[in-house]
């Protein structure tokens, strides 16, 4: 079976790749493009560790084929910081110790950033339900929720 040629945009950069029709976007990001920030925790869309955004929509990249990236704008954790400037979420996560092993962190950051872009003033309940698709086994979510709420407050103040 011959490979498909795909042209897409990832974290603002034009990217082209070849992939097997069966490869997921997650496989492509990790194995073909060297973007290993997105993680495979389950391969079935249940854990959110592979979260990316596609044209601004939060998606599990394990549930999307690489070929479906054609003509889309993909954003991964690697694109959250701008050069050496960390996004406020990233800074707060470190400050609040909102990560222990860190495997879920890329997915949670992508999801949280997406939330704050859509809703800059979420309640605790809204944050919890938005992040319900991102499993964390280490933290019990407490410090993650606090970090997101505090970031939202800080970003509102700054704007």
């Amino acid at each position: 079976m011959s490979k498909l040629h795909v042209t897409t945009k990832i974290n603002g950069d034009e990217v082209e790749f070849l992939c097997d029709p069966r490869e997921t976007l997650l496989d492509v990001l990790r194995d073909r493009l060297g973007l290993t920030g997105a993680k495979e925790g389950c391969g079935t869309g249940d854990c959110g560790a592979c979260s990316v955004t596609v044209d601004g929509r939060l998606v599990c990249s394990c549930l999307m084929l690489g070929a479906e990236a054609e003509g889309k704008e993909i954003a991964t954790v690697e694109g959250i910081a701008e050069g050496e400037a960390l996004h406020p979420l990233q800074k707060k996560f470190i400050e609040y110790a909102a990560l222990q092993c860190g495997i879920c962190t890329p997915g949670i950051l992508v999801a949280a950033k997406n939330l704050l872009e859509k809703n800059p003033d979420p309640t605790e309940e809204q944050v919890r339900y938005w992040l319900a698709g991102n499993l964390c086994r280490c933290t019990g979510y407490d410090k993650i929720i606090r970090a997101v709420m505090d970031t939202a407050a800080e970003m509102r103040e700054a704007s």
């Binding site: 290993t36 092993c101 991102n134 086994r137």
Partner: protein, 749 residues
């Protein structure tokens, strides 16, 4: 000058909350976990697994697979060492089946191919003929006379005569005369409890990248809690000399005990040796559930007698644990932890380790202890209710203290149980009013904690900063704690210290990161290595000043003369000594290699409020407070994180998580959809109180904290739910259907 930096107060760095040093890598996606490594020419592996719970393997034919495009090697049991005995044999038998498939998912063969998809396709082409055998998955059924025999002759000398061959180990301990004790009680409650198997649920599946040459030299990258153990096991299973295999630990995406065991690394190395190329092997989530190491499932009987004034007169427990198709269910840990919080004149605990057609169990955060606490603390809760006694006061009345005799034998040294109970009692949560439909549960919990072989090396750089190489993978943020402890001794800023996890070739042996030992043992070793370096720094200063070494002391990063008699020298900062160290005697490093003993035990008390929906049976945890003794919290934020994480796992274990087996002995819910761990919307904020009763065995008083936090939640939540529902829950998890059944049978009377 022998430096002893032991202290329990007056800290400058320990106890502060700086940013962790590896935070930047982890929030940018740069940190490299098990599956994030690549090597030129790398092949991808996949494993063929038995679909049967118990079956003789008659024939494996890989001809078609080997003929497929991109397939470079196939291995079976024949490609591993022969003649292994003891635990090495058990591990090999689990890593790759011999003549019998022992559980649904048991590995029978493996393939390496040029792409992951090709490997996946190739395993479908491997033909295996099975003769299906009767199976058993339930612990009590596995002990019954008619149970299928998993493996004859596996029982050790501890097992009494007359038990089924599936019973492989036995434990009995205690003291006094329980019958006499029960006779003294005003109320005796005896009850039966069941818990299902759960999985540690780490979000990162096992993954490794291995290269092994026919010359016996190998390199292995893997996510593990203990890379020296991986080195040792792989060497045994592949017939290698240990030192010829170098293992590097990646960042690890959760372990909780489940990554202390070896499952796939020997397979990757065997394939690599055959194909003469690096091999990457990553487990799927379904494979993680089916073929790594879940907990035991249990069947427990507990009987406790209490006087009207709340004094426990006697306690007895029988704990049956199945650990999969191999010995190792931690029945003795369950038995010894069960009554540990209580000072008992008459106590007896018995444990059985039973085999069944399930995967080989592995440790999960205080293995064995949470289940024991569920049974014991539920009975104590019931006694308190029936005798109308306050749950915390009753526990205080009977609490283990320094000088009392532990249920498993020794006299307690300084311990912090009473302090956790008192802090819980004083906490606003305990006296907060409950809404209608809500119930409150209390539980204590206990864990031993561990020391273990530890090697640490500290190298000073020419600019006076330090590099510390430890051998314990960072599973909870320990790099920060190591740096804080080294700062305290060296007197240099936390930011001037870099901590790395060294590979097996770069340090002496290190025992696995388990038993909550890292902050304790690697921490102690870091302190001692820093003291070693300080002694050498002082010697250089003494030589420079022409005074004896014992006339120099170290303070806040400076060498100083010890008094006016020693000489009037200006304090010498570390950077000045290190700048010239090459010329004054050579590079300065500190080392410590030892097996620290004296790990301090840890107690906890949890308070939970839960509400039950009587229509749907669903439960909501509305408030949670963890109170736990940490000895000394080196980095309090990460100690809080351990408390919260353990509580969250306990909530999942109590309410949702279980291994569900079908009649065919196959695992029905091998994915995160149907094996449902707590998500962000399930949980409230989790309050934490750090109690500090210093452990005399650590220079700064540290007690391990990682495991104890999972010991109380099962019981605390069961007690809260039982109170909310008005009916005693005796089986975990308390999923909605179980709560509705319990409500129905209570209604029927």
């Amino acid at each position: 000058m022998a430096l002893d930096s032991s202290k329990t107060t007056g800290f400058k760095y320990v106890g502060t909350r700086p940013d962790r040093p590896d935070g930047l890598d982890k929030v940018t996606g740069r940190a490299r976990f098990g599956a994030d490594a690549t090597a030129p020419g790398m092949l991808f592996a996949a494993i063929k697994r038995s679909p049967h719970a118990h079956a003789r393997i008659l024939r494996i034919d890989a001809t078609k697979a080997l003929a497929m495009e991109g397939v470079k090697a196939v291995v079976t049991r024949a490609d591993f060492a022969e003649g292994l005995t003891g635990e090495n044999w058990n591990i090999l038998e689990n890593v790759m089946a011999g003549d019998t498939a022992l559980y649904d998912g048991h590995a029978v063969a493996a393939v390496a191919a040029t792409t992951a998809l090709a490997a996946r396709d190739a395993i479908k082409a491997i033909e295996v003929d099975y003769e299906i055998l009767p199976h058993v998955t339930d612990v009590d059924k596995a002990m019954a006379p008619d149970a299928p025999v998993i493996r004859a002759g596996a029982a050790d000398a501890s097992v009494p005569e007359g038990l089924h061959p599936n019973v492989v180990r036995y434990h009995e301990s205690g003291h006094g005369d329980v019958e006499a004790g029960f006779a003294e009680a005003d109320l005796v409650i005896e009850d039966h409890f069941v818990t299902e198997a759960t999985h540690q649920g780490y979000i990162e599946p096992h993954a490794c990248l291995g290269t092994l040459g026919t010359d016996g030299k190998g390199e292995l990258w893997c996510c593990t809690q203990g890379h020296w153990n991986v080195q040792k096991v792989c060497a045994a299973l592949l017939g290698l000399e240990t030192s010829q295999l170098r293992v590097t630990a990646s960042e690890i995406g959760g372990g909780f005990g489940g990554k202390t065991a070896v499952f796939i690394e020997p397979v990757a190395l065997a394939l690599s040796r055959k194909a003469n190329r690096p091999v990457k092997l990553v487990m799927t989530r379904a494979e993680v559930f089916k073929a790594t190491g879940p907990t035991s499932s249990t069947s427990m009987d507990v009987k406790i007698g209490m006087k009207k004034d709340g004094t426990i007169t006697a306690a007895q427990g029988t704990f049956r644990l199945q650990g999969g198709a191999f010995p190792g269910a931690p029945c003795e840990m369950t038995a010894m932890c069960a009554f540990a919080p209580y000072d008992l004149k008459h106590v007896k605990q018995v444990g059985y380790d039973v085999m069944a057609n399930r995967p080989k169990q592995a440790a999960y955060r205080a293995p064995g202890s949470p289940m024991a606490a569920f049974a014991v603390e539920s009975v104590i809760d019931e006694l308190c209710k029936k005798l109308d006694l306050d749950p915390i006061d009753t526990r205080l009345k009977n609490a283990s203290r320094e000088g009392t005799r532990a249920s498993f034998g020794p006299t307690w040294p300084r311990i912090g149980l009473v302090e956790t109970l008192e802090a819980a009692k004083a906490h606003p949560h305990y006296s907060a009013p409950l809404e209608p439909g809500q119930g409150r549960g209390i539980s204590c919990g206990f864990w031993f904690n561990h020391g273990g072989e530890t090697s640490v090396s500290l190298a000073l750089s020419e600019d006076g900063t330090a590099q510390i190489a430890v051998g314990t993978p960072d599973i909870g943020g320990s790099r920060a704690s190591m740096a804080l402890m080294a700062s305290e001794v060296l007197g240099i800023p936390y930011e001037d210290i870099r901590v790395i996890i060294a590979d097996t070739a770069s340090l002496g042996y290190n025992e696995i990161s388990h038993g909550s030992r890292v902050t304790y043992a690697s921490g102690l070793a870091t302190i001692k290595a820093a003291e070693d370096a300080v002694q050498k720094l002082c010697a250089r200063a003494a030589a420079k000043w022409g005074i004896p070494e014992d006339a120099v002391y170290w303070e806040d990063g400076f060498a100083k003369p010890s008094g006016p008699n020693a000489g009037d020298f200006a304090p010498l900062p570390i950077a000045e000594i290190t700048a010239t160290m090459g010329a004054t005697g050579g590079p300065i490093s500190g080392h410590f290699e030892a097996t620290p003993e004296g790990a301090g035990v840890s107690f906890a008390t949890h308070i939970v409020d839960a509400e039950v929906d009587r229509e749907t049976g669903s439960t909501k945890v509305v408030r949670y407070t963890v109170v736990q003794d940490a000895g000394k919290a080196v980095h309090p934020t990460y100690v809080e994180g351990q408390f919260q994480g353990g509580a969250a796992q306990g909530i999942g274990w109590a309410l949702n998580e279980e291994y569900i087996y079908g009649e065919d002995g196959r695992l029905q819910n091998a994915g995160f959809l149907d094996y449902r761990i707590p998500v962000a919307s399930d949980l409230p904020m989790i309050d934490t109180v750090i109690v500090e009763v210093p452990n005399p065995g650590h220079p700064f008083g540290v007690r391990g904290v990682g495991e104890t936090s999972i010991c109380p939640p099962l019981a605390a939540i069961a007690n809260a739910v039982s109170a909310a529902a008005g009916v005693r829950m005796r089986q975990l998890p308390m999923r909605p259907s179980r709560i509705l059944e319990a409500l129905d049978s209570a209604a029927d009377g």
